[in-house]
């Protein structure tokens, strides 16, 4: 092994040959070694440019080569190099020498040649792996395609391969492993799971007595009895095991003095409904970051999990719904169409299993704790394929968003002893929820804040003293300074960085921020997506299609999610989806071939290619305004004013998403009524959806044309927003996170049921699964 590592390189030389308009490389390898080079030339920078600036080299050339030969070979790029002096060649190599080796080399070239030094990074065969999917075409078929690489998507991938491994004979060859592709529109470590702060709930009982039944009941109560109790039971029963698996995978949980996983209090988590209990496992206040990185790291163990980073999925191809299937009425997934952001190329991928794990749709609202990427893509893909969204009217507003940024200040802040105060500095939560006070469920706190503001006891953000008094104070001053820094480092740095305040000394202005989409793509307990049809009691599953995490709705959160249950949901049900795919593959490997898939996929690819080509060809060559344009003020209203006077020509997806968010916030925010909802529907149908359809590009290039993705995101966002508005109008009651001023009470007689909203505006209902706990009044 080590021999092969060294030999070819000792004797090899790499030459950069350049003639006007062409650059080439030549290498000689030892005669006895059959060598395959897969070389990706990712940049050539030429003297003059490298010397002149501190920003170092600019690599301009991208080219992909794959050469397989014996002895001396030569390859050339199709790129030009104007001159050649001292140059840097930045290459990414995949060298295969009997065993597979994956090598990364960056080496300087002096003049035209350089002997590669024998100091290559070593790698053992055991861990050898061809990894880089970036800048390359994907296979046209995978056993499973997972869309989204946050906690749910990565758990699904791990669940799949681990379950497969477990079910195999000890000496199986790796070829038999199912191939899994994880596509994500961002590099997986950028996923929004990384922003989750507080913790992950599990009745480990490491600090005080606890059991899953209490967690189960808290989850149902928190969800205002819209929770499917069979799902919540699985969630809470599997929680302790799930958290321990995460610990074994490497999550750096905070610890108790005796070395166990530490647990903290969290809103709505109680011991037998009586007093707050320490149930939430945490890692300071960055548990999401820890879990995301750990799951991604564990995925690197497996050769069969392939990653396609920065690929945007444009179509989910399903037969039997919008597109009639050839063989009967059962809907079935064929695969997807996706676009590589780096090159703008489209590709269709056939897969018997597709998992949607794309996260929530917080960007429907302007003030949100969600990242810029959470535009509801997975939900929109489902809607476009003819599926429904379940309980999509339930959007959780987290009470403690840092004023005017929406950035989340973890609930752990209150778990650790933070107190909400109004303009009179009264700790008002004691009035709204005697006993639990500041640790009441999120919707209760969010509405209490809104009530305080409505009654004139709100405060203005000190950064913008003239702004409306729509915030209240979060007081962390009672927490001992040392504990504050130790337990809430992210909260402290966010407050310092984005509000310029000292959490140990100052009151912090907060307001509710759109945080979590309880509803989503309806799934069964193993993650299988289904739809319901009018007059048919039985749900119709979509064969091969799964969903997990925030984009899905297995209905463990009901009408309002308890804090620290979202990571749990993503990991538990992500893993279950993966396992269930492995099980299906084991029973039918390969899955029964459907020869219509290829044709349906080809049609979808052709249609998408045409639509993107049309957008690109219409692209104007210049930006909408000259660089000297002055934009004044910090308010978004200035942006809207700007939009109205220059009309369609200057419209763009960023502006559109901003405008939709502002509208949704004022019309279907923490509270709403029939008038505001109808107005929202009207604006979405008559203003925003047409605007989204009219959007054009301002640049015609394909390489990282972000605006192209943003146009598709904006179109997704408006359709998800419309489904939310329609579902909200349909639910004539107040439950959990949804507060309708015109129907202020819960109405179990008419609305103890899940809503299923399709893109055509029809809303169907399905009864809630109630196994153990009949509905009660939800009092904290």
């Amino acid at each position: 092994m080590r021999e092969h590592d060294a030999l070819p390189f000792e004797k090899s030389a790499l030459l950069l040959r350049a003639t006007k308009g062409k650059a080439g490389c030549e290498t000689t390898v030892g005669k006895d070694h059959s060598v395959t080079w897969n070389l990706t030339l990712i940049g050539v920078a030429v003297k003059g440019e490298t010397d002149e600036s501190r920003t170092s080299r600019r690599a301009d050339t991208t080219s992909y080569l794959s050469v397989s030969c014996h002895g001396t070979f030569w390859y050339a790029t199709n790129r030009s190099v104007d001159s050649l002096g001292k140059a840097f060649l930045v290459c990414r190599h995949t060298l295969i020498v009997k065993e597979q080796l994956d090598l990364l080399r960056r080496f300087p070239l002096s003049d035209t040649s350089l002997a590669i030094r024998n100091n290559l990074p070593r790698r053992s065969a055991e861990n050898a792996r061809i990894v880089s999917m970036t800048h390359s075409h994907l296979n046209s078929h995978y056993d499973a395609v997972i869309i989204g690489a946050g906690a749910a998507g990565l758990s699904c991938a791990l669940g799949l391969v681990r379950e497969w491994e477990k079910s195999q004979e000890p000496n199986h060859s790796p070829e038999e492993m199912p191939s899994v592709l994880v596509l994500s529109k961002v590099q997986p470590l950028r996923s929004h799971t990384g922003s989750a702060e507080g913790g992950i709930a599990a009745s480990l009982g490491n600090i005080e007595p606890d059991n899953w039944q209490w967690h189960y009941r808290d989850t149902i109560k928190g969800g205002d009895w819209l929770v499917d109790q069979d799902a919540a039971k699985i969630l809470t029963q599997e929680a302790p095991h799930t958290v321990i698996q995460l610990e074994h995978d490497g999550v750096a949980f905070s610890r108790t003095e005796d070395g166990h996983i530490a647990q903290r209090k969290f809103g709505g988590h109680t011991a037998n409904g009586e007093k707050p209990v320490r149930r939430v496992a945490y890692a300071a206040d960055r548990i999401g970051h820890q879990i995301l990185h750990t799951l991604w790291q564990q995925c690197q163990r497996y050769d069969t999990i392939h990653f396609a980073d920065e690929w945007y999925v444009t179509d989910l191809v399903v037969e039997g719904l919008n597109v009639p299937s050839a063989d009967g009425d059962s809907p079935r997934v064929c695969g997807i169409v996706a676009m590589e952001e780096a090159s703008g190329t489209l590709q269709s991928i056939e897969a018997p299993s597709v998992v949607l794990a794309t996260g929530g749709a917080g960007r429907v609202y302007h003030t949100t704790s969600n990242s810029w990427d959470l535009t509801g893509d997975g939900m929109a893909l489902a809607l476009a394929a003819g599926l429904q969204l379940e309980d999509i009217e339930f959007m959780q507003f987290h009470p403690t968003g840092l004023a005017h940024t929406g950035i989340l200040l973890s609930e752990a802040a209150r778990g650790e002893g933070g107190v909400l105060r109004n303009s009179d500095l009264e700790p008002f939560m004691q009035r709204y929820a005697p006993g639990v006070g500041d640790l009441a469920a999120r919707d209760v706190v969010a509405r209490a804040i809104q009530q305080e503001v409505a009654e004139g006891r709100g405060v203005a953000d000190p950064l913008t003293p003239d702004s409306p008094r729509d915030c209240v104070w979060l007081d962390l001053r009672s927490i001992e300074k040392e504990r504050l820094e130790e337990a809430l480092p992210e909260v402290c740095s966010t407050v310092r960085e984005f509000a310029g305040l000292d959490p140990a000394k100052d009151l912090i202005p907060i307001k509710p921020t759109a945080h979590y989409t309880m509803g989503g793509i309806p799934v069964s307990l193993d993650g299988s997506v289904y739809c319901i049809m009018e007059n048919k009691p039985k749900p119709a599953p979509v064969q091969g299609l799964k969903a997990a995490g925030e984009c899905s709705c297995v209905s463990v959160h009901g009408a309002n999610r308890l804090g620290a249950n979202s990571l749990l949901d993503a990991v538990v049900f992500g893993t279950r989806s993966g396992r269930s795919i492995a099980e299906t593959l084991r029973l039918h490997h390969p899955l029964p071939g459907q020869n219509t898939s290829a044709k349906t996929l080809a049609t979808a690819l052709a249609a998408r290619t045409a639509s993107i080509d049309a957008l690109l060809s219409q692209a104007r060559g210049s930006a909408i305004s000259t660089p000297t344009d002055t934009i004044s003020g910090d308010t978004t209203s200035a942006d809207i004013a700007h939009a109205s006077d220059s009309a369609t020509a200057s419209d763009n997806p960023y502006k559109l998403m901003n405008d939709v968010g502002i509208m949704m916030e004022s019309h279907i925010g923490v509270s709403c009524d029939a008038t505001s909802i109808s107005s929202a529907i009207d604006q979405l149908e008559n203003t925003f959806i047409p605007r989204a359809q009219r959007l054009t590009l301002h640049d015609a290039s394909r390489t990282f044309n972000q605006e192209l993705c943003a146009i598709m995101e904006a179109r997704n966002l408006v359709h998800v927003a419309l489904a939310m508005a329609v579902a909200t109008l349909n639910r004539q009651e107040s439950r959990g996170s949804l507060y309708r001023r015109d129907y202020p009470d819960r109405d179990d007689e008419h609305f103890l049921s899940h809503s299923f909203t399709a893109t055509d505006g029809t809303v169907l209902h399905k009864p809630v699964v109630i196994d153990d706990y009949p509905p009660q009044k939800r009092i904290y």
Binding site: T62, S80, P627
Partner: protein, 313 residues
């Protein structure tokens, strides 16, 4: 309120496919020429801002076009650089490309060079850039501040401010960045063996906890003169990834991890310049950790030699 000019380095690669229709390409070129001409008029003394590759029109594949684009904004003192660029996208130029996601320093998407210094866009307030030594000076004595935004050094530029971070990620992946747990179960004070989580005492967590904060943004790599130069070196980000496991009390393959980086192209090229530590947006003492790893490798070697001589004797 401040009047600022963002001087953004832009790059548009030449595309090999013939997708782009010719008239658009020409129009785009023209606009860029206008922009640079405008800049040149505004600052006659400054270096030419457009560095477009000259092509004779017959050359089959020019490499791409580089230029700088000045965007004017009026913003409040609390505005950060990401707010500025997002506003540019919304109101001036939707074609400007840069990565961003969470907007509060957790996702690691938005590392760029601001006034030559690698930083995250979302964690850089405009006011903090005004004192940068390398900040471009405004042409006259106006109160306008110029902030230069360029792609992160050390990585190939793909478009505008977007670089290819794959070299960093493949280095991290090469170091098998997952816990290879030793599986050691601990005895509890009451004498029973704990079969659930691997016990880890707070001080054991302390030994590596800081390193788990890494968000793989690449700022340290762009700040490291050794890495930027192209010296064979695993780079500070990969060193952090290695250290995160080396110092984890649950890890069982420490020797393997030492071997993977104990190499002249491994961890040793680090010269303790400490710019990585200084720039890290997560406050990780990268340089200090690298030093600790080096120390651990040396100690391990001495231990191995000692055992070896003892066995030989």
């Amino acid at each position: 309120m401040y009047d600022i000019i963002l001087r953004v380095h832009r790059f548009s690669p030449e595309e090999s496919q013939t997708h782009t229709s010719a008239p658009n390409a020409i129009a785009h070129d023209k606009s860029a020429t206008d922009a640079s001409a405008l800049n040149a008029t505004a600052q006659p003394s400054s270096a030419p801002t457009s560095r477009s590759t000259t092509t004779d029109g017959k050359s089959p594949v020019p490499r791409g076009r580089k230029w700088t684009h000045d965007y004017r904004l009026t913003v409040s003192e609390h505005t950060n650089m990401l707010d500025c660029l997002l506003r540019i996208k919304r109101t001036q130029d939707p074609s400007l490309a840069f990565r961003y996601s969470c907007g509060h320093g957790m996702c690691g998407s938005d590392a760029v060079a601001i006034n030559g210094i690698p930083r995250l866009l979302c964690l850089t307030k405009i006011t903090t850039t005004f004192d940068d030594k390398a900040a471009p000076q405004p042409p006259d004595s106006t109160s306008t501040h110029i902030i230069e935004v360029a792609p992160l050094p050390a990585f190939p530029v793909v478009r505008d401010l977007i670089v290819d971070l794959e070299p960093m990620f493949s280095q991290i992946r090469r170091l098998t960045p997952y816990l290879k747990e030793s599986g050691a179960l601990r005895t509890l004070p009451n004498g029973k063996v704990n079969v659930f989580e691997y016990l880890q005492h707070p001080e054991e967590l302390e030994a590596f906890d800081q390193l788990t904060n890494c968000i793989a943004c690449g700022v340290c790599e762009g700040a490291c003169p050794i890495y930027v130069q192209g010296t064979p070196f695993i780079g500070p980000a990969a060193a952090v990834a290695a250290g995160r496991f080396i110092f984890d009390s649950r890890e069982g393959a420490t020797q393997e991890r030492f071997d993977a980086i104990d190499d002249s192209a491994g961890i040793w090229p680090c010269k303790g310049i400490r710019l990585c530590t200084q720039r890290c947006p997560r406050g990780i003492d990268i340089s200090g950790s690298i030093w600790k790893i080096m120390k651990a490798i040396k100690a391990n070697k001495e231990k191995q030699e000692f055992i070896h001589t003892k066995t030989a004797a």
